[in-house]
């Protein structure tokens, strides 16, 4: 059932590095007739500290986020990873605390953006863009925590002028892994180097993902090596191709 309004949780990486993707996500939702609310005080889903074992610190940040989304509205997140954190790890994080019930209820309201567009809103897209070839990187948390596999492809398949060339190892991690990328830079580098080689072999000038953190990693490696391909968030790609000008 289509809700009248939704909350949007932009995520810190989108906020600082891919703001256009966040805005595009909001526009895609608004076009479907949904009012989008963006609580101003939001910061980060708390995943970095959670994943590093600093759960006290993670709880403090997560508590602050939950307080900003009090109404029983869906919380839409343009990131499989951050959505996975809020949906699957908040209940664990608050296990045994007075906020546990709140965390469980909050988690139940969390949706990843493309899943919300496809499964809840049932969007139909009309392609207004030039012919384009892209490749798709499925982020690990989107894929394996949120089960995000069919939805982005369903959205891309609605774009008549877009050809998707799959990566050879579509399901393999790009090597970001949050602090992993700086704790083990050499391993992370080996992984992202293979990933961008895979991107290059598709010949696509654009690599899409529904997770900005992967794009930060893949994009940084593409730029460092002088490769031609550029990263783009799926939301931005969809909005740019389908908006009426």
């Amino acid at each position: 059932m289509k809700p009248e309004a939704v909350y949007f949780f932009g995520t810190c990486v989108v906020d600082l590095f891919f703001p256009e993707a966040g805005l595009a996500g909001i526009e895609l939702l608004k076009r479907e007739g949904v009012r989008v609310v963006f609580p101003r005080g939001q910061t980060c889903c708390a995943q970095p500290a959670y994943n590093c074992g600093y759960h006290e610190e993670a709880r403090a940040v997560a508590r602050g986020q939950m307080a900003l989304f009090p109404k029983p509205l869906p919380v839409v997140v343009p990131s499989g990873s951050c959505a996975g954190m809020m949906k699957h790890h908040y209940p664990d994080l608050f296990e045994g605390t007075p906020e546990h019930a709140q965390a469980v209820a909050f988690a139940a309201r969390v949706h990843e953006l493309t899943q919300f567009l496809v499964d809840v809103l049932g969007v139909r897209l009309t392609d207004r863009g030039e012919k384009a070839t892209v490749t798709w990187h499925s982020s690990c948390h989107g894929l394996r925590e949120m089960g995000l596999e069919a939805e982005p492809k369903a959205l891309l398949s609605q774009l008549s002028n877009v050809t998707v060339v799959p990566l050879k190892r579509e399901r393999e991690c790009c090597g970001f892994g949050g602090t992993f990328s700086v704790r083990y830079p050499d391993i992370s580098a080996a992984m992202v180097t293979d990933k961008i080689a895979d991107v290059a072999s598709t010949g696509a000038p654009t690599v899409l993902s529904a997770d900005a953190a992967c794009l930060l990693n893949i994009g940084g490696a593409l730029e460092k090596t002088g490769a031609a391909a550029r990263p783009m968030h799926l939301a931005e790609f969809l909005w740019e191709r389908t908006r009426e000008r």
Partner: protein, 478 residues
């Protein structure tokens, strides 16, 4: 290894492994092959899910009754004529094995593949005590010849290519001529090892499943060296981790099918060897004595934590290694552990302690590939995070060995700062602005930035953040 804490240096060993192009190529090729074979064995997702649910439930039930099942197993084994020994530590297990051999004056031991015997460093211990302890699984034989340890729990010599093995055989085996022909290399090993099976005074094996109901030890293998080691010599010693017990004989088929299909992509191994008794009255062959050594080595401690206990579900199929993007790139030796890869990253720190091994749980991008593939549904990723917490912020009463062993003042401070920046919207905005204004001026020598920019450009903060844009666009705040 740091002299101060005994901690291993995974940074150094993994970075070194990455510099070896032949090693990386060997692993990539092997892991691709193993993944393809496994995937072909589970074409139907519904069947796969039903099977792993079943296998996980068998293992969960066994762990729920672990002490009782071990007692039943012991009683059944004794009634069947086996001798059962218990070892709290690997030192005790080694002493038990040596005592059995000494009792019979045995100095030549042939071994089937056993990861528990690797935990015990049994070969080194026995050879220091005058016993020839010979690996007979082809992969194990190869690495023993080269003085190495396994780099994979199923494919111990997977890090070597056939040229390297050909050179090794040429150097170490009398009469062996250099050949890269795999059949010829295999034939050479057959020739050497058949003589050893013939002469051996004792055989040693691991155990894949021990059935409490019947007192049966089950062994999975393809080569026949396991059967040679357990049927030909007059004494058979089986060593097992205490978690290997299952309740009933009917629990075995579901575990066997997920084990061989996950491990090597085979519907079943060539041999499934079920040993219930030594040579019986009238029997012409089989060992006259069978000993079972049940090893703890930290497992009872793992068992005592209700969340970490699931670590003990593992049936050692190695699929988590095959699917791990980190393992694939650095290989097994870089972990400097008996059990490498994802299962090793949760098992090793629990056995050896977080003081020595707090780095290991961080050697993962948390990509969940291991969790997705585990045939007994061990939530490996979740346990990695749990162990990271145990290293940094152990809860009161933690049962993990050396809990808090990964504490760092610097990291504590960093996360305190992170918390401050993300619990105050104002501070968050100030930091964001600072990143835009001063980020490009950040000295390149900053360790974290340095690590990032080795292979990537500096991330550029957008001129206007999403917070700026939504304000401009008048997106409602509530």
């Amino acid at each position: 290894m740091s002299a101060e804490t005994g901690a291993t240096d995974f940074h150094a060993s993994s970075s070194k492994a990455l510099l070896d192009p032949s090693l990386r190529a060997n692993f990539r090729r092997a892991m691709d092959g193993l993944m393809a074979k496994r995937a072909a064995q589970f074409p139907d997702p519904a069947e796969w899910n039903a099977l792993r649910d079943l296998a996980a439930s068998v293992r969960t039930r066994a762990l729920a009754k672990l002490p009782e099942l071990l007692e039943t197993l012991e009683a059944k084994c004794v009634a069947n004529g086996l001798k059962v020994h218990w070892a709290a530590t690997t030192d005790e297990a080694n002493a038990i094995v040596l005592a059995i051999l000494r009792d019979h004056g045995a100095t030549r031991l042939v071994k089937g593949k056993s990861m528990v015997s690797e935990e015990m460093h049994l070969n080194d211990f026995l050879s220091a005590n005058g016993v020839e302890s010979l690996e007979t699984d082809l992969g194990e034989y190869i690495i023993q010849l080269d003085g190495e340890t396994p780099s994979h729990i199923i494919m111990p010599a997977i890090h070597k290519n056939k040229q390297q093995i050909a050179r090794l055989f040429g150097q170490k085996i009398r009469d062996a001529v250099y050949t890269e022909d795999v059949d010829a290399l295999t034939a050479t090993a057959r020739r050497v090892l058949r003589q050893k099976f013939f002469e051996a005074e004792a055989g040693l094996s691991g155990v894949n499943f021990a059935v409490a109901e019947t007192g049966t030890l089950c062994l999975v293998e393809n080569e026949g060296n396991g059967r040679m080691s357990t049927h030909v010599p007059p004494i058979h010693i089986a060593v097992m981790g205490l978690e290997k017990v299952v309740e009933r004989l009917e629990d075995v088929p579901p575990l066997l099918t997920v084990l061989t299909r996950s491990a090597t992509g085979q519907p079943i191994s060539t041999y499934f060897n079920m040993i219930t008794a030594p040579r019986g009255p009238g029997e012409k062959d089989g060992p006259r004595e069978v000993h079972l050594v049940i090893l703890d080595n930290g497992r009872s401690r793992i068992f005592s934590d209700s969340e970490l206990q699931v670590t003990l579900r593992c049936i050692r199929c190695g699929a988590c290694m095959n699917y791990c993007p980190v393992y694939t790139r650095i290989g097994g030796h870089a972990y400097e552990a008996i059990y490498p890869g994802p299962i090793g990253m949760i098992l090793t720190p629990q056995i050896e302690g977080l003081k020595r091994r707090h780095e290991l749980p961080h050697a993962s991008s948390l990509c969940h590939a291991c969790t997705e593939i585990c045939p007994v549904e061990i939530p490996i990723t979740r346990l990695l995070v749990r162990l990271r917490k145990e290293a940094a912020q152990p809860p009161a009463g933690s049962k993990v060995l050396d809990a808090g062993g990964g504490r760092s003042r610097l990291e504590d401070l960093a996360w305190a700062g992170w918390q401050a920046a993300h619990t105050s919207p104002l501070l968050y905005r100030v930091m964001g602005t600072a990143l835009r204004l001063f980020g490009p001026l950040a000295p390149r020598g900053l360790p974290l930035l340095n690590a990032w920019t080795k292979s990537r450009t500096v991330p550029k903060r957008a001129k206007r953040t999403l917070q700026d844009l939504v304000r401009e666009k008048g997106i409602p705040d509530a």
